[in-house]
Amino acid sequence: METTINPSVDLHRDDTASKIGMWLFIFTEILLFGGLFLVYSVYRFRNPVAFHLAHEELSITMGFINTVILLISSATVAIAITAMQKHNKKLTMMMLGLTLLLALVFLINKYFEWGAKFEHGMYPGSELMANLGHGDMLFFSLYFFMTGLHGVHIIIGMTLLAITLVKVKKGAVHAGKYQLLENSGLYWHLVDLIWIFLFPLFYLIH
């Protein structure tokens, strides 16, 4: 009998390593989007007028609403972790569910935003895009690519959070072992972080 070992500590578990691993992955994501932001800055620097005019096509209201939605969803994930640390399983599940709901609303908004552009014939590879001036084309290509890649991250984040929610419900993730919740949470905050920069760059700056 190994009575000296704390029963809540699993020998095959290393929470710090798990979290460092997640952070390392987040760094690669930051540099991925960082590279895209750099491309954006250089093209904007070379085509200031076209970028200014093109940005007016985007709805600030839509962007603002989506920003607030993502900020709230980030807070609900953070609260879910606090609730877990306080052994409040019900609140954790509620907060995760709310986060998923907010993420869905974000995607629906995005659908309408992109849908309106598509209706006007504005989508990657369309005739309208091909006939745009050089600067406008760069702006919209970057807009579709960067918000699209961000959207993919939203879907991945939702998948991670949904898996976490199921595991919390089943009791596989609990107050003594919630690394999955913490790592999915970190990923979700990353999605929020990227949007914090995407919003002013595409919707606001002129």
Partner: protein
Amino acid sequence: MSEEKTHVVSIKTHLLVLFTLIILTIITVLITSIELGPYNTAAAMIIASVKALVVLLYFMHLRFDEPIYRIMFGLVIAIFIAVIIVTFFDYLYR
């Protein structure tokens, strides 16, 4: 408990952080709606950086975790800033 060192951030703190972030977003929208010329970009980027920092420190727990995470993050950002500076030197003086 195996999680003795874990710092629990209160729900109230999270709500306060959320409130701050939303206020900062409103400020960005208002500031960029007035004509400030080149300062528009600067103001929007500074506020975005402040928001990002708040998310990192509170929501992502960097403020309460061991220093190793802060050091790693600082290094990555330093590399990124170096790349930005080098790129812009190239474009400005070519």
